[in-house]
Structure formats: structure tokens, C-alpha cells
């Protein structure tokens, strides 16, 4: 157990170039996940992200079998998945079932592809549970380019995208291309997801893409503050999880998910406590007899 906090060992490992490369990868991923997360949460897309990441795994498995760069395969798989999910279903009511159908099929194909692959098991499982230390400089370059591209696009479309995400009817009435933006956003999420698949693995992408944003949403309703908090939380989980995993040589994913879940629990508690006191104030301040109206299905 004392291996966990062997700071000398951690320090020595941090000096290694491939460890530093992994740290950079984790930092880029944390930033992307934190920025995209609040929008994903606003759009109720957690399950879509999960589906995209599983299909990114399928793409990576296909690339492994074909002998091409696994990162490119994961990226291609995620973007195709995002486009398919974005185009197949515009109506949110059957969105989840479409994702379920596509994702289970894709996962099955991925497993079959891995079964065909003659190589070692660590490569196989890397795609599922993460292999951040395997990140090389070519991957770092790809990560950085993709990361900058995603952030640049986001900077341009952020306001209409937020409008379309939280208030689609009025956004449409104001001329925002709601349908087009949802496809663009799905591709951005696909790219970020593919990057996540290579570091924390397909099964655990949600820990970075969803949990920090969900935690932020518990403590603030301001979109800007939620984004800043989500970035901080995601970076804490990604970098902290990675550093903690170094000394024991344990899988990164376990630490990343643990940290982000702890952050979520803390924020949930803060939100619950604050909500209780705020509700008391509101009830006394509000006029009597108001109806909140039926909760419309979304």
C-alpha cells in the first residue's frame, strides 16, 4: 500500500519522456472533456457519448487487425459513429434505443475483430481500459491537433450551440440551425471521445466527459462557471489519476474514475444542502398558488 505514495518513485517516473507525453495527453483530454461536458449534459447526451466511445473501440480494433495506427482507427470509428447517431435520429424520444441498437452491434463487431487479432492481450485490453503510457509523440501530435481543432470550432459555434442545446424551440425561431449544429457537435464529441478511448479507454470515457460536467451542474447553473468548473474537475481527475497510478503501476482508469466520482459526490452533497436551504427561502418569498406546469418530456 505504501507503494501508492512513494514520492521518490513518482518523481523519477515523471522525469521519463514517455510519462511526460502521457501527462500532456491527459491534460489535453481533460481540457476537451471539461469544455464539451456541460453541453453534453445539457443535451442529455451521456448515453450517446457512451455509444460513440464503444464504436470508437470498434474502429480501434479494426485498425489493430489491419495493422494501421490504432489512434486513427479509433478516431474514424468515433466520427462515423457520431455522424450515424446524429443523422439516424433527430427525435429525442427514440434516440436512446437507436444508440442502444447501434452500440451493441458495434461492440460485438469489435470483439470479433479482437478475436481475429493474433497479437498480445495488453494491446487488446488497452482500448477498453486505457493505455495512456503507450502514448507516443505521434499520438501527442494527433491529440494536440484534434484538440485545437475542436476548441477552435467550439469557440465559433459556442453561443448558438448553447442556445440550441438548452432552448431548441426558441433557438429555431431565432434562425439558429439547430439540426446542423447537432451534427457538428456530435462530430466534436466523437473526436474528443476517440482521444479519450486511447488514454482512459472506451469503457471509462464517461468518467471524464460526463462526470465532471454533471458535478459542476450540481453546484452552479451558470453555463460559464459550469464550464470552468468542469475543466478543473476533469483536469484534476485526468492528471491526478495518472500521477497516482504511476508508483503502483496500476491501471490509470481506476484512479481517474475514482477521483471524478469523489468530486461528483462532493458536488452532489453541496448541491443538495444548498438546494434545501434555498428552497426554504423561495417558498416563503413566492406568491401562493402558483403551478409549475406539467414537466414536458424531453
Amino acid at each position: 500500500m505504501d507503494k501508492f505514495f512513494d514520492f521518490e518513485l513518482i518523481g523519477r517516473l515523471l522525469a521519463l519522456p514517455y510519462v511526460q507525453a502521457a501527462l500532456v495527453a491527459a491534460a489535453i483530454l481533460g481540457l476537451l472533456a471539461g469544455v464539451l461536458g456541460p453541453l453534453i449534459v445539457s443535451r442529455n447526451m451521456a448515453f450517446a457519448v457512451h455509444g460513440t466511445s464503444e464504436l470508437s473501440f470498434t474502429g480501434g480494433a479494426a485498425a489493430l487487425l489491419l495493422g494501421v495506427n490504432v489512434g486513427h482507427g479509433a478516431l474514424a470509428g468515433a466520427v462515423v459513429a457520431a455522424l450515424v447517431l446524429g443523422l439516424l435520429s433527430r427525435r429525442s424520444s427514440d434516440h436512446d434505443s437507436v444508440i442502444g441498437a447501434v452500440l451493441s452491434f458495434g461492440l460485438g463487431v469489435g470483439v470479433l475483430l479482437l478475436w481475429f487479432y493474433p497479437g498480445g492481450a495488453s494491446n487488446k485490453f488497452g482500448l477498453l481500459v486505457g493505455q495512456i503510457v503507450g502514448v507516443d509523440f505521434a499520438s501527442i501530435a494527433l491529440l494536440s491537433i484534434c484538440g485545437i481543432a475542436v476548441l477552435a470550432v467550439l469557440l465559433v459555434i459556442y453561443r448558438p450551440l448553447l442556445f440550441a442545446s438548452v432552448d431548441p424551440d426558441v433557438a429555431r425561431a431565432r434562425g439558429v440551425p439547430v439540426g446542423g449544429l447537432s451534427v457538428v457537435f456530435a462530430v466534436l464529441v466523437g473526436v474528443a471521445t476517440a482521444l479519450g478511448v486511447q488514454t482512459v479507454g472506451a469503457l471509462l470515457v464517461l468518467a471524464l466527459m460526463i462526470t465532471p460536467a454533471a458535478a459542476a451542474a450540481r453546484v452552479t447553473a451558470s453555463p460559464l462557471r459550469a464550464t470552468v468548473l468542469a475543466v478543473v474537475f476533469a483536469e484534476t481527475a485526468a492528471l491526478g489519476g495518472f500521477v497516482l497510478s504511476l508508483a503502483p503501476g496500476a491501471p490509470v482508469s481506476a484512479f481517474v474514475t475514482a477521483i471524478s466520482f469523489i468530486i461528483y459526490l462532493v458536488c452532489w452533497t453541496i448541491g443538495a444542502l444548498r438546494g434545501r436551504s434555498a428552497r426554504g427561502v423561495m417558498v416563503t418569498a413566492r406568491f401562493s398558488g402558483e403551478t409549475a406546469g406539467p414537466a414536458a418530456p424531453r
Binding site: 442556445f163 432552448d167 425561431a173 431565432r174 447553473a221 414537466a295 414536458a296
Partner: protein, 272 residues
């Protein structure tokens, strides 16, 4: 403004249909600046579709439409839009909702305009009395508070025409009065034309200048007392209809049950 002489909304021989089904045809309507026109009719009579035409989201099957001196186009900044109350569960504060009404359609970051934006949003919030709860999450507000924010969201861009789609639905009487009087105050102070889709005329009856009543592709336009009478509505519905006035309210008896249904119609659920 020189444009004050032309009607805010003008429909000429306008027909709208989906495939073989005609929603309404031969519609001629001019809405003057500062006029409050209520659009009534049973569900499926094409009330919301009329708004969609004016918003540039649907094309007329035939005829012409003009709104603030332009053919309808997507994202006309001179039009304000107020939807019906609907749950917003995304993390969002009231002031963010209003801010999106000001510049949510714009590309880019908008960093250069932050101060001006804040001032205009604050002013719009103050005008509807929403300053107090502007920082609370929208999801925790009552229906009446949410609709006040909706009015601010529509007015913050200083529109010349207000298109309202059942904005009072699911509000109690007190809040219906608050929200409709906010809309009325705007049209009087800024001469804004109001097209108000509703299934219930009574909450806005004192404010309404004219009524457009749509039934099965037929329609009547006129002052409330010209349209809301037994003879006219019987003719429109092609059935025996009694219009009774009780304590200054109008009650329509004998129309299809669809008339008073509280079913919500969402813009995106209509056939494309």
C-alpha cells in the same frame, strides 16, 4: 420610423398545406403596428403553422407573406418569439436565458460586447420584474416566473413584431394576467404588433383588437364581438355552436372537444 405606415404583418391569398391536406387557404390579413391579434381555433387548425410561416421555418404553399417589410426569413432580428411554458432541465440561469434571446444566434465569442450585453439583459429583466430571481436556475422557477423570463427574452432584442405561441398555457390566472399585461404594455409603449396564438381567449380578451379564428381550413377575421358569436362560429364549425357571455367572459359551447383541450403542441412535432 418610416416603416410605421406599412403593416407589421401582411398575408395575401396565403395557403398552407401538408401534402393533400390544406390547413388554411386564401388568407388575407394585415396586422398594423401596435395591434393585438389573437389566433384561435381547434388543435390542428394551423395556428402554430402560421407562426412557423412568419418565422421563415415553413414556406407557404401559395400566396405571399411579409413581416416587417420583408419576406419571412430564418432568424429575422425584428421578430420576438414567446413559446409556451416548458420545463428546462439544463443548467441555466434566468439571465442566461434572456441573454440568449439577445445574441444566442450570433457566431463567435461576443467577448467585445460583454458590458453592453449585461446592461441590456439587466434592463429587460427589470422590465418584467425578474431581477430578483434572475440568478436562480430556471429549472427551479415556477411556470409564471419562467414565462416572465420568456417575455424578457423576446423583448431584449427590441422586436417590432411579437409572435406568441400559447404563452399562457399551464399558468394560473394570476400569472396569466401578469404575463399578458407585460406583452400588452410592450405593444403600447413601443407600438409592437402582437400575434397571439391561444386556445383560450378569455385571459387576453380585454387586450385583443382582432381575432383570427381558424377551423378546418376556413377562417374568420374581425373584432372579438364580430367573430365570437353563435352565428359566426356555427358557420365556421358547420355545427350548432352557442357563444355565451358570462361575467365578461366568452364561452363557446358545442364546439369539438378539441377546442379546449390543454394539449401542448411543440414546434418540432409537426409534420415537416
Amino acid at each position: 420610423m418610416s416603416t410605421d405606415l406599412t403593416p407589421a404583418v401582411s398575408l395575401r391569398d396565403a395557403t398552407l398545406g401538408y401534402g393533400d391536406r390544406i390547413l388554411w387557404s386564401g388568407l388575407n390579413l394585415d396586422i398594423e403596428r401596435g395591434e393585438f391579434v389573437a389566433v384561435l381555433g381547434p388543435n390542428g387548425s394551423g395556428k402554430t403553422s402560421l407562426l412557423r410561416v412568419l418565422l421563415g421555418l415553413r414556406a407557404l404553399s401559395s400566396g405571399t407573406a411579409r413581416i416587417v417589410d420583408e419576406p419571412p426569413g430564418r432568424g429575422n432580428r425584428r421578430i420576438g418569439y414567446i413559446p409556451q411554458q416548458r420545463a428546462i432541465d439544463a443548467p441555466l440561469r434566468g439571465r442566461d436565458l434572456v441573454g440568449l434571446g439577445l445574441d444566442g444566434h450570433r457566431w463567435g465569442t461576443g467577448v467585445s460586447r460583454v458590458r453592453q450585453r449585461r446592461e441590456r439583459v439587466n434592463q429587460a429583466l427589470a422590465e418584467v420584474g425578474a431581477t430578483e430571481f434572475a440568478k436562480a436556475p430556471v429549472s427551479q422557477l415556477s411556470g409564471g416566473e419562467q414565462q416572465r423570463l420568456r417575455v424578457a427574452q423576446a423583448l431584449v432584442s427590441d422586436p417590432e413584431v411579437l409572435l406568441c405561441d400559447e404563452p399562457l398555457l399551464s399558468l394560473d390566472l394570476a400569472n396569466q394576467r401578469v404575463v399578458s399585461s407585460l406583452i400588452d404594455r410592450r405593444r403600447r409603449s413601443a407600438n409592437t404588433a402582437v400575434l397571439f396564438v391561444t386556445h383560450e381567449i378569455n385571459p387576453v380578451l380585454p387586450l385583443v383588437d382582432r381575432v383570427l379564428y381558424l377551423v378546418d381550413g376556413r377562417f374568420q377575421i374581425g373584432r372579438p364581438d364580430e367573430v365570437m358569436n353563435s352565428e359566426t362560429l356555427s358557420e365556421l364549425y358547420r355545427a350548432k355552436i352557442d357563444v355565451v357571455r358570462v361575467q365578461g367572459q366568452i364561452h363557446v359551447v358545442g364546439a369539438q372537444s378539441g377546442l379546449c383541450e390543454d394539449t401542448s403542441h411543440h414546434m418540432h412535432e409537426e409534420p415537416a
